[in-house]
Symmetry: C2
Subunit: 461 residues, 2 copies
């Protein structure tokens, strides 16, 4: 325990009385709740509590606040920048038991869910409605967690990120009140945009307890393909021209040759180990045919090989599951190693240059670091595969990450396109935001004056 350990213990004692078996101080469970899928040092909370209702959450927040106890909201633990590490101890609120789909409004193309619903669970639930929720950060994350980190993923180039797809939120604020940040209307000019403020706030402003999302009709036609290129530059330039041409492509993903080797090993794919784009096209039959024709013409200009098609749903699923497994595949490239996934996002006109310089940098640093990217958005990931016990190698990775972020900022890009800040990138916030960080700080303290909500994340205080 940290800070006023006595106060935290008092809060836990009171919570234990109230929640019984739904509060645990079991070390294994605590450890799991302080450990995400990032490279960064985990830190277990002092206790984990499992609310089942919004009223439970209000009660937990009130007890913790009265006893100055940090609160860390938790979805399923797939974050990538140490978002859930209990840096100052405190109580983890595991929202996994709040996992009901509350209402589907098919006519309005929206759905309201509890935060513990995962994206796969949601799409399974929606299967008979002809609707789907497109945001897919790879892992089967919870909707609450995806909202809190402003997640995106492969479909963002067509459908936007959580920023565009959360219609409104129910939030328990640090003072223990339930607020709703907006209505179900598709647009509003009625006051400050609290929805977008809480999307991406990483649990530092309150606990998300329900989420209303936009839904989309399942496209009449879906086609996926894979195509290899002579160089990464060619693949990136194919992407840039596709976006600039206004083709409404649903997915366009870069996998470099190192990453392709890892995917082949992990998923037994048998693809050529060359720079590759994974495509997906959504639309009417005729619309998809038209999109494919446009993209093929562009691809040909940059030496793209023949498109290898995955037409049947199960083939498509295999292809995208392989793509989503990149991080897990990389860890198997070097047994005993640990992967450090980092991401940046730049204006698309700078993307080819940014990736080329980064690859040169990786080579010079002598690191194993496959690159994958949601390149249609200008967003790419570098997954550094390290021996965590080799201080010298870790030092080279730290330096590489620093240069990567500095390069992205210099190109008017951002230090993270979709992974978020957590505590892994909290030190980059001043460089990215300058004085705007003081405005974030003022907002944080106006809503959470005691700094109890996920302290140490997003905004350095």
């Amino acid at each position: 325990m940290d800070g006023s350990a006595g106060e935290i213990q008092t809060a836990i004692d009171i919570l234990k009385q109230r929640f019984g078996d739904r509060l645990t101080t079991n070390q294994t469970i605590r450890d799991r709740h302080g450990t995400d899928e990032s490279y960064h040092a985990p830190k277990a909370p002092d206790a984990v509590v499992f609310p089942q209702t919004t009223d439970d959450v209000i009660e937990i927040v009130n007890i913790c606040r009265e006893h100055r106890t940090p609160i860390i909201p938790f979805g399923v633990g797939t974050s990538l920048e140490g978002h859930i590490a209990a840096l100052q101890g405190g109580v983890c609120i595991d929202l996994g038991q709040m996992n009901a789909v509350l209402s589907v409004n098919a006519e309005d193309l929206d759905v309201t869910v509890e935060p513990g619903v995962t994206r796969k669970q949601l799409n399974e639930y929606l299967r008979d409605t002809g609707l789907f929720f497109p945001i897919d950060p790879g892992a089967d994350a919870t909707i609450g967690g995806m909202t809190a980190t402003r997640a995106s993923g492969t479909n963002a180039v067509r459908y936007g990120t959580m920023r565009e797809n959360v219609l409104s939120l129910g939030v328990v604020t640090p003072d223990g009140r339930y607020i709703r940040t907006g209505k179900r209307a598709r647009k509003s000019s009625a006051g400050y945009d609290l929805t977008r403020l809480f999307v991406g706030s990483e649990g530092t402003l309150g606990v998300i307890v329900d989420v209303t999302l936009r839904l989309y009709g399942i496209p009449e036609s879906i086609s996926s393909a894979v195509c290899t290129y002579p160089t990464v530059d060619d693949a990136v330039n194919t992407t840039i021209l596709t976006i600039q041409s206004g083709v409404p492509i649903a997915r366009i993903e870069l996998v470099d040759e190192v990453q392709m080797r890892a995917l082949n090993n992990f998923s037994d794919l048998g693809y050529a180990e060359r720079p590759t784009l994974f495509f997906e096209f959504h639309g009417t039959e005729a619309g998809v045919a038209e999109q494919i024709e446009s993209v093929r013409a562009i691809s040909d200009e940059f030496g793209g090989a023949d498109f290898s098609w995955a037409s049947r749903p199960e083939e498509r699923s295999k292809l995208w599951q392989a793509r989503h497994d990149a991080h897990y595949a990389n860890m198997q490239l070097r047994p005993g190693a640990k992967a450090w996934p980092t991401d940046v996002c730049v204006p698309i006109s700078r993307l080819a240059e940014c990736i080329a310089e980064t690859r040169k940098d990786i080579e010079e640093a002598g690191l194993l670091a496959p690159i994958v990217g949601h390149v249609g958005d200008g967003n790419f990931h570098v997954d550094m595969v390290l021996d965590p016990d080799d201080a010298e190698e870790v030092g080279r990775a730290v330096a590489l990450n620093n240069r990567l972020v500095a390069r992205a900022l210099e190109m008017d890009g951002t230090c993270t396109g979709e992974h978020g800040v957590g505590h892994g990138k909290v030190g980059k916030m001043r460089a990215e935001h300058g004085d705007a960080l003081d405005v974030m700080r003022a907002i944080k303290l106006s809503i959470d004056p005691l700094n109890l909500m996920n302290p140490g994340k997003v905004v350095p205080l």
Copy 2:
């Protein structure tokens, strides 16, 4: 002057010394700057100052703050809820001389402009690039004003509102610092979404001094059409089914028979005075043809007449200019009258019912109040044409507006889809937001602790 008149006068004296002819206390100019296109009582500021640079704005903000003088940012004065009325006196900052296009990044599909650039000026500037900026609130508003009110308009159903189309902002904060709310990357997870916080903040959190916007390629094919329906219900149901079918329509606008009469009178159109939809389709040749086929089939189900096409650019311009002139046309329906435009937005499943009940309500209230709507978004306008000197009639209008807002809220809609809050709807904010309004209030005071930025708007203090 209001409040501490002496302090305001001191600020004006210092500003006069610094800005010379670029500060005026001329009554005519002051009156114009306190008067928008709304029904609500205007209130002139004590002075109007015309900055030419961000440094000018910083200086003005610092001088006003030191002397506790309210600041009202001003674009071109086309707001519709009294946004620019100097309720507590103070200094109006007219940003009209900051009207340069700063940089066009055609490859990234974005542009950065000063706040005084108007939407028509911007599109004129972009003409040779093959790109355009789609948001059109009707009036030739400034980009700064459109950002501040979270404007939208006819194209929002396809392209989104200012919420979706502002990439980042430069803002002078009440403490006199210039901040940038984001980078030019298409997405980011790096901290609180200050861009979306300032979009729609109506000058209550700072002065917007530059705006980076998304641009779009001019579609290969554009077709506009007009179609009449037996009843408003039929027109609205055509809209609902079009949206639910996922047709990517660019514009779908309802004009009721009373509004059509006003448009015919004002613009000499000669259209049938029946419930009407104005359509626009954007896409490839084949895509537009496909969209039209889908919408025609839906329209036929609801008794739509033949589509009347406007194919040539000048015909299209005439059609949409007529639509945009609705508010001006209505004022001519009843000479000497004043129009009170109000708007709400509801989930589309409730739209037909909401409009039907509103029309019944208008009839029972005995008011002249045409309805137009961006119905694809669930958003519609009631333009009440009144004798402002007839207290009894004004009372009926107040009651109608109250019932309209209450009905929208009851349907999980919002008290304003695009006009904003100003001081006209500040009294509706508690009903809409409940305790969330206290979060807005905390944010306002954390950024503007002296409540000098456009006081009396958005958040009741």
